[in-house]
């Protein structure tokens, strides 16, 4: 009896360490990525000059003398993300409402897995779909050459759907039955109940889903590279139907053959992207804490 207790204790201790190390690994990963970005990015920003880097509009890394301004790409990232939100959020939330409140069981069995499948499609497939279908569609219906903020927004809007739908759906489902019963009890219709009682009650969860969607859209690379065109546009020439380069696209397009300060400037682009993500995550925890 004593023996088994001892071995139980040992197991307990051992497993504790296993979990502890697992937790440590993920923290270590974040810390080492941070260190890598900062140690190689900050000197580059210093060498280029913070103002020239963040507010410069000219990106000409192989000219002599070179220019490393990423303002156009910062704005580009903001535009395509905003476009994705405009397209993805209304569809996503309405789909979530449908799934949680109105969907007949036999349809649910089909729609829910389709949404999940959408999340599992690799981004290169989205990019290829965009290049072959969305880009020609935009070109023929709206003009321009098709590689544009609009095409990127459409693709990203589709890509953030699963995030928005699944989180919104579960937060709608988490709204207590009593809310609905109360609303229905005082004579509201089902629709009124859903849109005036349930949705407001689920708003923090829906907001969370939107912010996670923004995170996905800001960070998406491969699909955007394939449909956005990759041009570094001066700010006054940026338009919905004109091509654009985002921060992520800048890194991935030029990383392969770059050297010296050019490479470092791409890592510095990563630092800026990282700051974006930190801001998003901070907003997220702010929402969560204000909710608690």
């Amino acid at each position: 009896m004593v023996n088994s207790n001892k071995s139980n204790n040992l197991k307990e201790k051992l497993m504790q360490y296993v979990f502890y190390t697992s937790a440590l690994v993920s923290v270590l990963a974040v810390v080492s990525i941070c260190l890598f970005l900062l140690m190689r990015g900050i000197p580059a920003i210093a060498e280029i000059g913070f103002k020239n880097f963040i507010f410069g509009q000219k990106w000409a890394p192989v000219d002599t003398p070179p220019s490393f301004g990423i303002l156009s790409m910062i704005v580009g990232s903001l535009y395509v993300t905003a476009g994705a939100i405009v397209i993805g959020v209304p569809i996503g939330i309405m789909c979530a409402v449908f799934l949680a409140e109105f969907c007949p069981a036999h349809l649910y069995k089909f729609v829910k897995p389709s949404v999940n499948l959408l999340a599992g499609i690799p981004s290169i497939i989205y990019g290829f779909f965009g290049m072959q279908i969305v880009v020609p569609f935009v070109r023929e219906s709206f003009g321009g050459n098709g590689y544009s903020i609009l095409s990127a927004s459409v693709i990203l809007g589709i890509m953030i759907l699963p995030t928005i739908i699944s989180i919104s759906e579960s937060s709608i489902r988490a709204v207590p039955e009593t809310y609905k019963e109360g609303s229905l009890g005082i004579g509201a219709t089902k629709e009124e109940t859903v849109f005036k009682v349930v949705l407001p009650a689920a708003s923090s969860g829906i907001l969370t889903s939107i912010i996670l969607g923004i995170g996905r859209a800001v960070g998406e690379t491969m699909a955007v590279v394939m449909v956005a065109g990759g041009s570094v546009m001066p700010l006054d020439k940026i338009a919905l139907l004109k091509p654009i380069r985002t921060l992520t696209a800048n890194i991935v397009t030029e990383m392969s053959y770059s050297s010296g300060l050019h490479t470092e400037s791409l890592i510095a682009t990563g630092v800026v992207l990282f700051v974006f993500i930190i801001i998003l995550n901070a907003t997220l925890s702010l929402i969560k804490s204000s909710n608690n």
Binding site: V62, Q132, Y147, G229, S231, Y257
Partner: protein
Amino acid sequence: MKIVKKLIVVLSLALMVTLVFTGCAKEKTSASQPTENANASDFNSDKDITVIARDSASGTRGAFHELMKIKVKEGDKEIDKLVVGALEFDGTDKVITAVEGDKYAIGYISLGSVSDRIKAASVDSVEATIENVKNKSYKVARPFLLVTKGVENELVKNFLSFADSKQGQEIVESKHYISAVDSPVDYVVSSLSGNIKVAGSTSVTPVMETLQEAYQELNPGVTFEMQSQGSSQGIKAAIDGTYDIGMSSRELKDDEKSKLNEHVLAIDGIAVILNNQNPTSDLSSENITKIFTGEATKWSEVTK
């Protein structure tokens, strides 16, 4: 509330229907594209040219922009005048896909990657073929040279013979360059050891590095020292003897020629590619420069 709801329903329905229908319409047009090759009448030459370039770190872009005078020297400055709004892709495959999908597109890729998905334009009425590059009539090409000074030592000679060999030229071709050796022979392994110092062109560096790796596998006793700071630097280093081999991605000037042994490692040929439906198949180099710098924006401006 009811009206709003109805509106939402109608709008989302409309959105879905348009999506579905355009999807169908799209398939039809893309399916009929290849068969419409002969029918140039729906090519509207007053439409804007879609200019497609590579990303600025690409060696193909560096070469093409220099050869076509898109990148120009002004005093000690060097400025790439690529038109604002040109699409930039990070790979040959993406450039091909983009040109294939857009009737009004123009792009450039290395000659070795041309396929029937797109067509290579003649430049100044010279067809873009490997033969024309080799006989120097096709101008959008440049040699990759390895230069040495005086009598080469055994080790350098052996490495150069490897570069010329079947194995070496296979590496050259795997990088989509044109082999410069007509009938390469098999490389014979030596038992040499020592250090080879190489300096020069950043464009030649990637293929050189691969060659060195393959050479070291066969000759484990040999080490390399690499510097890539541009062709001129490499030529200078070879002339003053600080490096054994200089790499150059341009032809030697006459005074340099007299001082060095020239060794053509490969030829980098670049094809100007157009959509198969484009009735144009010949462009002057002057017009290519105009298109890529934005001086000409419509096909009607560069074709008669």
